[in-house]
Each structure stands twice: as structure tokens, then as C-alpha cells.
């Protein structure tokens, strides 16, 4: 391989990857090492590749990604904590031909917004839900989430999550897959290049499902790290995620084209 000069690298014929125009130039507010930035990018890449931006309206949650609308360069609404699936329902019902998605964390989707999530899924709203699960409340400083693993430490389970006292982690993705209103349910991650490619394929499929009018929710969980909340380096947090989160939240498709696998 020849050594390329800077002039060579910037030549159009040497372009291997272009940053999506659907991300703004604003510096991401996420901690270095966090998976949110990658998740944002692949969603925006998919919308750009499918040329959907003029029809798409996104709904941001409360949590670390409350400011998703600062980074996603499309029309966005910011919802109250947990209410994104209801807000998305409102938009989609009055604009059945537009593309509507929510981007939610685990506290938002699986705790305070459980009812809105279950009922939007059960009604089979034709929307996309992207669910980023890092097992902790990141924005408020690392409290226990509905998805915090048994024994896992957080600022409100400082001695580890005692499931007899604090309840069990909720596998929301497996739960919604049981509902007849979900059409595509999958769990992905963004910690390695191959995982990112698979996650992007799933997100693309989810948006294609909505575009093609397939009846029901396309639900994509992305298991992610929270190096700040877990009090680890980014690298250690990804190793910990693979060793601890993924055995409990296994990756892969759960329901495809309305059929449980």
C-alpha cells in the first residue's frame, strides 16, 4: 500500500465514507465513548440513503438524548418523559404518509413510559421506535434503571441491584415482541464496526417497513454502554457490556415480518 498524502486522501475517488448531511455541525453533548453518537449517525444515514428527510418527523425523549434535535438535522419534536410513543401516535395518525420515529432511552421507554410504549405497540402504530438501552439513568447521574442488571451498582442501588427488593430488570423488547401490533423487533449494539453495520441494517429495515406501510411497529433496541454512569473507561465499558449486558440482553432478531422467530 502506498503512502497517501493529504492531497490524495481528499480526492473524491478516494472517498470511502461520507458524513451524513442529516447530522448538524453541533458538537455532540454525549460523553466521549458513549454509543448515542453512533446510534444517531446510523439513523440519519438511513434516512438520507432512503431519501426520506422531507417526510420524516422524529420525536426526542427526556434523558441523555433529550437534545437529539440539536444533532439530527430534520424536523423534530421533544416529548415529555416517556410520552414519545403517544406523541408519535398523534403525528402519524394525522399524517399517515409521513415517516415518524421515536428515539428513547431505557428510563424513558421502559419505566415512566411503559404504558405509552405497550399501547402504541399493541395498537400497531406504523412508526419506528429506537430504544437505546444502557441499563442506567445517564443524564440524572447514574441512577438505577428498569434495565439495570441484577447486582449492578448505581447511585440508587449503591450495593448492587437486589432483585428481591428492587425488582427485576425488564426485557421490554421480548415483551413487546409478544404483542400482535409489532411487526419487526430486534436487538442490536454499536460497540464494534460489525455490530454497527448490523444495527444499521436493522434500522434501515425498520424505516423501510414504515415506508412500505407494513402494519405495525418496528422496534429496534440498541444495547449500549454508559461509561460515565458505569464509572469505567470507554474501552472497559464495552468489554463489561459484552461480558454482562449481552448475555442478559442477547443480540439478534426476535420478530421479523410479523412472525416470532
Amino acid at each position: 500500500m502506498t503512502n497517501l498524502t493529504l492531497e490524495d486522501i481528499i480526492k473524491p475517488e478516494n472517498l470511502v465514507h461520507e458524513r451524513t448531511k442529516l447530522m448538524t455541525d453541533k458538537t455532540l453533548s454525549y460523553c466521549p465513548g458513549c454509543g448515542h453518537g453512533t446510534a444517531h449517525h446510523i439513523i440519519m444515514e438511513v434516512i438520507e440513503e432512503l431519501d426520506m428527510q422531507e417526510q420524516t418527523i422524529g420525536v426526542a425523549p427526556v434523558g441523555c438524548s433529550v437534545l437529539a434535535y440539536d444533532f439530527m438535522n430534520i424536523d423534530m419534536q421533544q416529548a415529555a418523559h416517556g410520552r414519545a410513543p403517544a406523541v408519535a401516535t398523534g403525528i402519524k395518525r394525522v399524517y399517515p404518509n409521513k415517516i415518524v420515529f421515536t428515539y428513547q432511552g431505557d428510563g424513558d421507554l421502559a419505566a415512566i413510559g411503559t404504558a405509552e410504549t405497550i399501547h402504541a405497540c399493541n395498537r400497531g402504530e406504523n412508526i419506528v421506535i429506537v430504544f437505546v438501552n444502557n441499563g442506567i439513568y445517564g443524564m440524572t447521574g447514574g441512577q438505577m434503571a428498569p434495565t439495570t442488571l441484577p447486582g449492578m451498582k448505581s447511585s440508587t442501588s449503591p450495593y448492587g441491584r437486589d432483585v428481591h427488593d428492587m425488582g427485576n430488570p425488564l426485557k421490554m423488547t421480548e415483551l413487546v415482541a409478544q404483542l400482535p401490533g409489532t411487526y419487526f423487533v430486534t436487538r442490536q449494539a454499536v460497540h464494534t464496526p460489525s455490530a454497527v453495520r448490523k444495527a444499521k441494517r436493522s434500522i434501515r429495515k425498520a424505516f423501510e417497513n414504515q415506508r412500505d406501510g407494513n402494519h405495525g411497529i418496528s422496534f429496534v433496541e440498541i444495547v449500549s454502554n454508559c461509561n460515565s454512569g458505569w464509572k469505567m473507561t470507554p474501552t472497559d465499558s464495552n468489554v463489561w457490556m459484552v461480558e454482562n449486558m449481552l448475555p442478559f440482553y442477547p443480540l439478534g432478531d426476535i420478530k421479523v415480518d410479523g412472525k416470532l422467530l
Binding site: 418527523i57 419534536q77 415529555a80 406523541v87 401516535t89 403525528i91 395518525r93
Partner: protein
């Protein structure tokens, strides 16, 4: 003349939603206003105008569906009764913050808590002082007839879009449940998607290439930005209070005493005025139509004309009376009378209160 019908207040409200060109109604059943969603479901408005009607899983979900559709520029409505309206306060605060238009109705029942299903006017504070968290106000219209249950839907949408604010139709179990003759206004067209995209630049309808994106949010993490937004909201509320005061008066020209009331209490008090006039008591009725903005200057004017006393009549332990006191600024006596917890006062009880608390007091 428009179509004449004999209808319940709740049914008139629902029919008016269709005729006002509403794009959607999201609701959840609760007594005494369940007829609104029942009527809409039975009418199949999607066949009449294309209007969407959806029964949500909760009042919380319903108001957030309203938020989403309103944020996309649509004419959206919801309704409930007191306990359900409490649940909607989160969404209403967000809508006030994000400056989204909507019309919603509260067919008030007795509280606090689960309370009772009988009529009440005990949600005045919640309705006029904000309701949810943060510094905000909303336009509050108080119908006193089935006719106004219909008319205020149309007026409500006009005001909601003029000022980009939630508008509350503050009804009660009497007005919602009683049947009266109503003249329905003619069907108005729903706006086309292209008209919405063109006319409401604030609405999220999809970012066209080469244009800036639209964001609906009530969040401003920087305090100085939040203060600036609050100042903008307060300026809007000032404009509303200068331009949208609504009331009507009966026999106030020569009145020595004034009954101030709204909604079903105003209907009852009108009878009290008739009885009292026959007895030679010079009393008039000041009926509030807009509760926010409150007609303070007009009450003050009456006071300066020589009115000796005001009796605030409301089916509550005394809420609206505080605004009457603030309006007249001590220039005349102000007292409260009202039965509450689901009990409706009679015209005779109101007269007795007038004689004891204002004339003889």
C-alpha cells in the same frame, strides 16, 4: 339560520369539533363527559371530513397525542373531567411552553380526588392560574348553554391558532349533561396538508431540502434563554388580556348589587336576579365568559359607578371570588356564596345569600 337540534352539551361539543374542521380528537372516557368520544365514534367523522378519533390508553397519552398532532400544525381537540384533567396538566404545561394550539374541554365534577360525578366549579384555580408547572396561562372560555358548548369550539380554535396556546372550554356537569336547542354552525373545511406546511412555519411537517429544520420543544437549558422565552410568553399573555376579555351583563345599568358568576351558576343567578327585581332589589348579573383573561377593568368600572356590593356565586368553596376581590380592589364589599362537592345551589339560596351577606351584611 344553521341546523337546529336538541342535543346534550357534550354532544354539541363533539359535533362542533367535526364542523370546526378539527383534524383529530384524542380522548379517554370519564363521567360526566364520555358522550363526547361516544358521539364522535358513532358519527364516523373520518367519513364526514377525514377527522381522526382515537381512544387513548390514558388521559396522559391522549394529551401527548394532541401535542404531537398539534406540533405538526393540525387542529386537535381533547376533553375530560376533573380527575382526568389533572392528569393532562403535564402535557398542557409542555404545550404552553412549546406554544402549541389546541382546544380542550373540562366538564367539571366535584373533587378533590376521585370526588363525585355531580357538577362542580371547583377547578377554577387549576384552570385560570396555570394548572401545570411553570409560569403560563391559557385562554379559558366558560359556556353557560348547550349553544355555547358548540360556539366556543369554533371560537376556541380561532384563538388557539391566533395565539398558539391551549384554549380551555371550562364546562361543568350541568352544561355537559343537559339538553337544549342548539343552532349548529355550518361545516368548515379542514386545512390541506400543503396549506398547513405553507401557513404554519413553526409546525413539524418534514424539513424540505435547502430549508432550516423545525423543532418543537419547551426546553432551554441555559437560564437566560429560558428567561427570554418566559418574557415572550408573558408579552403574549398581556396581549391576550388586552384583547380577549369576554363577558355579558344583565340588569347592571341601575344595579346597586352585582352577582358575578359563570357557567351553570350564571344561569341560576339569572333566575335570582328576576326574583330579586320583583322584590324591588336592584341587582344585576355580571356573567364571565372568559375566565382568563379576567374582566377586571370592567368590574372595577361598575364599582366606580356606585355598586355597593358584589356576590361571587360559584359551585366551589370560593375560588373565582379572589379574582373579583383583586378586580375591585376594596372599592366595594365582595362576598362568596356557593354549594359545592356536587351540590347545585338554587336561585332562592343565592338570593338569601345576597340578602344576608351583601345587603344586610
Amino acid at each position: 339560520m344553521g341546523e337546529l337540534k336538541l342535543m346534550k352539551g357534550n354532544e354539541a361539543l363533539a359535533e362542533a369539533a367535526i364542523r370546526a374542521g378539527a383534524d383529530a380528537y384524542f380522548g379517554y372516557p370519564i363521567t360526566p363527559q364520555s358522550e363526547v368520544i361516544e358521539y364522535l365514534m358513532a358519527e364516523k367523522p373520518h367519513e364526514r371530513t377525514g377527522m381522526v378519533v382515537l381512544q387513548a390508553e390514558s388521559e396522559v397519552a391522549a394529551i401527548n397525542m394532541v401535542y404531537g398532532a398539534a406540533g405538526a400544525g393540525k387542529r386537535v381537540m381533547t376533553s375530560s373531567s376533573s380527575p382526568g384533567i389533572s392528569l393532562k396538566q403535564e402535557g398542557l404545561s409542555y404545550m404552553a411552553g412549546a406554544e402549541l394550539p389546541c382546544v380542550y374541554a373540562n366538564v367539571v365534577r366535584g373533587g378533590p380526588g376521585l370526588g363525585t360525578i355531580q357538577p362542580s366549579q371547583a377547578d377554577y384555580f387549576q384552570s385560570t392560574k396555570g394548572g401545570g408547572h411553570g409560569d403560563y396561562r391559557q385562554i379559558v372560555l366558560a359556556p353557560a348553554s348547550v349553544q355555547e358548548m358548540s360556539d366556543f369550539v369554533k371560537l376556541g380554535f380561532d384563538l388557539a391558532f391566533k395565539y398558539r396556546t391551549p384554549v380551555l372550554i371550562l364546562s361543568d356537569g350541568v352544561i355537559g349533561q343537559m339538553m337544549e336547542k342548539v343552532e349548529l354552525f355550518d361545516q368548515m373545511p379542514r386545512l390541506k396538508d400543503e396549506e398547513i406546511a405553507e401557513n404554519f412555519e413553526w409546525a413539524t411537517t418534514g424539513r424540505k431540502k435547502g430549508t432550516e429544520r423545525t423543532i418543537i420543544t419547551s426546553l432551554a437549558l441555559q437560564a437566560h434563554e429560558m428567561e427570554a422565552h418566559n418574557l415572550h410568553l408573558q408579552a403574549k399573555y398581556k396581549t391576550i388580556s388586552e384583547n380577549e376579555v369576554r363577558f355579558e351583563t344583565f340588569d347592571c345599568e341601575d344595579a346597586e348589587y352585582i352577582i358575578v358568576a359563570y357557567g351553570s351558576s350564571a344561569r341560576i343567578a339569572q333566575k335570582t336576579v328576576q326574583i330579586a327585581r320583583k322584590k324591588g332589589i336592584k341587582v344585576g348579573l355580571f356573567r364571565l365568559i372568559s375566565l382568563y383573561p379576567f374582566p377586571s377593568a370592567d368590574l372595577q368600572k361598575l364599582c366606580k359607578q356606585g355598586v355597593k356590593g358584589f356576590l361571587a356565586v360559584e359551585m366551589s368553596a370560593g375560588q373565582m371570588v379572589e379574582d373579583v376581590m383583586l378586580a375591585v380592589k376594596g372599592c366595594a364589599k365582595v362576598e362568596h356564596f356557593g354549594r359545592f362537592g356536587g351540590i347545585i345551589h338554587t336561585p332562592e339560596e343565592v338570593l338569601k345569600a345576597l340578602e344576608q351577606k351583601i345587603i344586610g351584611g
